[in-house]
Every structure is written in C-alpha cells, then in structure tokens.
C-alpha cells in the first residue's frame, strides 16, 4: 500500500516539472477548456438573456429541458459527439475524431446548458427588479437585453466560472472523443486517469494537485477582476 503522507510530501519531487510534455498537457487542458467555455459564453449569455425576457409558446418546456441538460452526464455527451464525428457518422468526412477540436465540441455541449440556464435565471431576476424602470425608459424586452447583460455582468461571471469548472474537471467526454493520445489529446484529467490505471498513484495525485491549484488560480483571478470591476463601476 502506498503511504498517503509520503505521497503528499514527495508530490513536488514526483511531478515531471522538467518534462516539456508536462507543460504541453497543462497548456492543452487550458486551450480546450477556455475555447469551449469562451464559445459557450458567446452564445450562451445572449441566449440565456433572450430566454429570460422572451415570451413564446413552449418557453417553460425549453427552460426545463435546458435546466435538465445542466446535469448531462459527460460520458453521454462524449458518446453523442463520438457518434457524430466518427468516420461512419454524419460528420465523419472532417476527420475530427481523436483531435483537440473534438474535445472542444464535447465540452462546448456540456457547458452551454449551464451558461444558458444560470444566465437566464440571473437576467430574469434582474428584469423583475428593473422592469418598470426599463419600460418607463421606453426599452422593449429585446432592447433591454444588452442593458441587463451589462448590469448583470459581475453575476454572469459566476455562470461562466460554473461552466469553466465543469469543463476543466471533466474527463468522461474528452476521453471518449479525444482518445487520450500522447502529445496530442492528453489533458490533465485524462493523464490522471491513465496514471491511475498504470498504478502510478503518486504521479496521478500530483497531477490532481496541479489541476486543483490551476482551478484555484483561475477562480481567484475571476474573483479579483469582478471585485475590482465592481469597485470602479461604482
């Protein structure tokens, strides 16, 4: 049995910090996750706002469906994207399976419902609060969207962070569509899964510590930015 205290004390020694492949893995994790969350934010925030203010038949059902998709199991998302991108699937001719792009698509699908659902709730609450003010200023529901998005910007950071956390920690989907190919689609989480299966538990734990540290740094940065922003915005 591996002694857990020994594992922790020697974590740093075990990490392949001099190995360039180690940094490639971290960089790829960041690249895939930030691209997926960035794209999901670009689409999800306006869609969430539109869903908050829009009135159309089937809206409640759509909201329930999107809320439910927040709990979409990553392996299911991965399997769906896998079948889409496989050479025998409808998008097979692009040869995207087992590539970073495939991992971005899968994570985009996982993160989008989270960002839409959370931003919808935020914007809807804000709309209830400022409805009279905005309508008296002559702004229609649609025209109010940019104003509300702007006013809620600090709360919306949280919905982006929720998406980021989901994508950064996720292994089920990217393992299926990325294939964990060394030097190409191996990320922090798939490397942890691999090292665990090789029985190299100290290294797996070390990689896990790095992953958590990175998540902490990203969240601290976002927190600082929104705090500073809130102060200067008055």
């Amino acid at each position: 049995m591996v002694d857990s205290t020994m594992m922790l004390s020697s974590l740093w020694d075990l990490l392949p910090v001099r190995d360039p492949a180690f940094f490639d893995i971290i960089l790829l994790s960041l690249k895939v996750t930030l691209t997926a969350v960035g794209a999901a934010g670009l689409i999800g925030l306006p869609v969430g706002a539109a869903l908050a203010l829009g009135r159309f038949p089937g809206r409640p059902i759509l909201i329930v469906i999107i809320n439910a998709f927040m709990g979409l199991p990553p392996v299911v998302a991965g399997l769906a994207v896998f079948l889409l991108l496989s050479r025998s699937g409808p998008l097979g001719q692009f040869g995207l399976l087992f590539s970073p792009a495939a991992m971005m698509v899968a994570q985009f699908g996982l993160v989008l419902p989270i960002i839409i659902a959370l931003s919808r709730q935020t914007i809807e609450d804000l709309w209830l609060e400022y409805r009279e003010q905005l309508t008296s200023m002559g702004a229609g529901r649609l025209r109010a969207i940019p104003t509300l998005l702007w006013d809620a910007r600090f709360s919306l950071v949280t919905s982006l962070l929720a998406g980021l956390g989901r994508a950064f920690a996720e292994v089920g989907a990217i393992l299926i569509v990325g294939g964990n190919v060394a030097g190409f689609t191996r990320t922090m989480t798939t490397a942890i899964a691999l090292e665990t299966s090789k029985g190299d538990l100290p290294l797996a734990l070390g990689l896990g510590a790095v992953l958590m540290a990175l998540t902490l740094v990203i969240n601290a940065l976002a927190f600082a930015v929104s705090r500073l922003g809130a102060r200067f915005a008055g």
Binding site: T35, G38, R153, T196
Partner: protein
Amino acid sequence: MLRRLITTAVFAAAVLGPVTGPVQAEDRFITVASTTSTQDSGLFGYILPIFEAKTGIKVKVVAQGTGQALDTGRRGDADVVFVHARAAELKFLGEGFSTKRSPVMYNDFVVVGPKSDPAGIAGSKDVAAALKTIAEKKIPFVSRGDKSGTHMAELALWKVAGLDLASIRGEWYREIGQGMGATLNTAGAMLGYALSDRATWIAFKNKGDLQIAVEGDKRLFNQYGVMLVNPAKFPSVKAADGQAFIDWLVSAEGQKVISEYKIEGQQLFFPNANDPNG
C-alpha cells in the same frame, strides 16, 4: 465587462494557438487503435519515437481494449489496429475490414493474487487447476469484463478449465469493465486474483500485496497481431503510411527494437513476426 470577457476569451484562444494549428502542423500522422497493455507497459513510448525519427510519420495511439480497438477500426476511425486476440482478429479479417493480419510479437499472461494466497495456488504451473480452485473456494476474482484481449483470454481459460462461468459465477467473480491497470488496482484492494498480461504487470507500480501466483503454462501465451484497416472500405485510411508502420514492426529492425524494450532488466515482448502459427 462582458465585452472584455469575450475579448479576453478570444485573445486567450488566439494566444494559445488556433484550434486547427497543431493538426495542420502534424500533417503526416497515422492513428493506431491498440490495447492498454501496449501503452501501459511503456512499449509504445519506447518504439514509436524510433519509428517516427526514421520515417517522419507520427503515430497517434488510441489505447483501448482489443474489442473496442477492433470496433474503432470497423468504424474507420483508425488506420491500423494492433491488438491481441487471434479469434477476434480473424473475425475482423473475415468481415473484410482488413485484408491481411501479421503476427508481431508475444508475451504471456500471469495469474496474480494476494501474497497471503487464500486459494493456495501460488507457484502452480497449471492455470486450469488454479482457476478451478479459485471457483470452488469462491475466492474473489477480478475480471476485466471489457471485451479486451485479456478478457477474451480469461473467458477462454475458464472453458479450458472445464467450467461454465455463467452457471458458477457469483459474488466472488467481479467484472469491473476497466483496463488492465484498474483491474490490478482493484484486485489489490479486494485481495483477489486477476489475469494480467506480464508486460503490464511488470510495469505496474502499485503492486502492493499482489504477486504472481500462476505462470509458465503454455495456455497463457499471448500473441499480438497488426492489421491495416481496409482502404477499400474507408477511403480516409492512410494506407501507405499505415502499411509503412506495419512493415517496420515486422522488419528485422522493428523486431529488434521490440526485443530491446526492458523494464528492470526484464524483456517484456518477444518478437515472432516470422512464426507461421503466430
């Protein structure tokens, strides 16, 4: 703030490199669907850089169980399959998903179990008798349960032992549906027995209280074969580069490199490309 966020995201994506960048930069590559044993044992990490340096063809390995790797080939998602389950490989050939199978190398399976040896089989060279004892005493046995080559070999061994797994299996027989390493981790934790390929066992770093219980039985032989996915079925298959990889594996040079891979002084794979029974 929102705009700034978006700008930041776009900027980050731009700085970190465009999505398609690395794909284009590594234009010449093949995708090989192979098994967890060849990857987890470190064999690919040793031989692929040598092949890549010689030919300039980058090899992307997707490590799966043999069954899944063959299915990856059946969908056209790999150029080459490199696996170890002869019957399943011949079926793949028969279905027309490849036109030729080449034997490459072999290693052997071992039955590993707790050092306390609750079944009392340690040191045996008779795998059939050992499995019978495990089943009779209902000692935990951890099965891959994932249609991998090792799983198929395990199922065949129960038959060799004259046991009908479907009727005797109970709580003692634990299918976990995971890779070799995960199975060894589980066997260690449950104090149970498991069938492992020797290469993964030697390279495995969390042996804990496990040891080899049964080895040296001829029926534990583990042959690896390689096949090019049929380009007539999937025009996307990189036939020339895939064939170059196969030719190298079975060439004198490739065979020598395979035999040179060692962990702790132990040779893990034994090349036998010229063995007609391989």
